[in-house]
Amino acid sequence: MSALTITYAVLFYVATAVLVGGVAYKVYVYASTPAPLKIPTTPAPTTRLGVAGRMLREVTVFESLFKSNKWIWLFGILFHFALLLVLLQHLRYFTQPVWGWVVLEQPFGIYAGFIMVAGLLGLWARRFLVDRVRYISSLSDHLMLALLVAIAFSGLAMKFVIHTDIISLKQFFLGLLAFQLQPLPADPILLVHLALVATLMIVFPMSKLLHAPGVFFSPTRNQVDNPREHRHVAGWSASINNPGGR
């Protein structure tokens, strides 16, 4: 096996481990950190079901963002939904036979790449054009967008400009899944694309990309508004012991 194949195989095992382990660790930390007081941003749902609905709206249609700023919302929705389609489309490289619905999704997935780039460039433009957003952007915010744009461009380049050996690539990934090494095509654009994706996977659990798991743990969004009806205690508030009463 070539050094290249081995390097990339190791890279993807490491990246996957960091991504899965890192996110799992963060989720564990979020879940095990107590929320001692009730702090939902009201008006808030008064039932668990209602909260599930609020959360669903936040992660599917970005409800709060919509109320706030239509431009960010538009670019954000374009980017995220396109990203979702692209990710789903990539399942075809990891499944044999390819699942039926992934095949059906294919026609959308192909163009989603362009939409993703459009959304990302819109968001990036704001970081230069809107003085307030320019002020709050740090280097890492720009680099994150650069990384995603570069991933998208290199991916689109392989699809529409210089095709790569998809069959061998799929063999490589199916091999990784089965813990067997298969040769990776030594195609420069592909290598760049894969390296960038691995980078994204590695930075995910130590960057602002934690917003994806984090949003589900945000107390202002996931708490039920029922403090009078149910006594809520957690963490330091669980050790309160008031005298008197019955």
Binding site: T33, G50, S64, I136
Partner: protein
Amino acid sequence: MANFETPALREYPIIPLIQAETMAHSKPYVAKPEHQKPLGFPGTLVDNWESVAVKKLGELVEESRALRVFLDTCVKCGSCTDKCHYYLGTSDPKNMPVARQDLLRSVYRRYYTLSGKLFPKLVGARDMTKDVLDEWYSYFHQCSQCRRCSVFCPYGIDTAEVSMAARDIMDAVGLGQKYSNEIIAKVHTIGNNLGLPQPALRNTLDGLEEDVKDETGVDVKFPLDEKGAEVLLITPSADFFAEPHIDGLIGYAKVFHQAGISWTMSSHASEAANFSMFIGSHENLHKVAIRIREAALDLGVKRIVVGECGHAWRVAYAFWNTLIGPFDFLDRNYPIPQHICEFTYDLIQRGALTLDKSANDDKIVTYHDSCNVARATRMGSMPGGQFVIPRAVIKAVVNKFHDMEPGSIHESTFCCGGGGGLLTDDLMEIRVKGAQPRMQALKHVVDDHGVNYLAAICAICKTQFAKVLPYYQYPMDMIGSVHGLVSKAIQLGTKE
């Protein structure tokens, strides 16, 4: 009037361009040792404050999921940047909610995240230096913890939580804010923010009884420490003598009187306010709140009703059950605690009050949703009842009511500019400038509908407006209590 310019009120709201450091000079007086010690904080800046601060930050993150998630998840999308009234009124970029959070997030990243430890420059991580501490002191005292930013953040990041944590850290290193800490110390020692002892309180209430007798010819009682009363009223101490708060207290008393429900106030718990929330100290939060449980048990009441106060209602509604519950000794047929507006609204629904709206015909009223009521609590059983019920009470007692524009009421309400422990003269500039968005919305209903009365249900809002309205060329007595309106409309002697 002062050495700063009152912002202009415009036809349409505009988002100002940033102007760096315009408010960097704003700093409240530092707490003296005598204000710090009773709260359990070091009297002056401790020697090893850097390490104490960093350690405290770590502890706070450990014990608060909110803080942890908020510090991690911000994507710098910018959605909150134009939502803070202090940014809109000052153009200082550090008053943009995300930038305010970043003052603390940068330190968190430096000491508690891998990326911040390895690549501080890249992710905007900073060492805990004196400059950083000074900046915290300035800008975390330019946040009224109003939660408007939290409404508009895709992850609900609440800058109020961040500024509470920052103040908690500053207190832990001995750099407290005089205004809040002095007041909390007073509650610990005397029982209320004003330092009003029992005899003075009784005296004030006697005076009110006489005033109401003169005005109406009816003996309306203002009971204090009466055992066996049905209801314990917990109200901000400003209601005892500040204008226009006092009209609200008179209104509550008249409502209790006409409803024929026995009630009492307590000299042990003569304060609804709990400034410990502003400084993020849960020990003090509990210590201030527990007086209310003690008073309720001691007086043997069945219900607790809370007077007009925004942050106090938050503490009561959202935190009391946690802090000073369980309330198994109170009557479960009523909300515990119940807001005075809920109380009055129920009586109106039942036809228990005789109200003559025309008594308020000299007023054209609008209503200011107080931040804490609007974005941190509820009234009634429906989400949003906190918007409906006070308005329903107002509409039952006045003929002429006009709401301000949609982006400035309900959950989008603009803070009065003086909440969160900023209601002190040493912060006058930020208070006036932060009131600009509210004043602008007010101007529109004044111009379009001739509004001449701004009703509110928060002691801080009332004091703040009385102070800042004149800066915007409006009369200070334009601000009033919702129950001040009730007080005017209620026809005593008709239901006895």
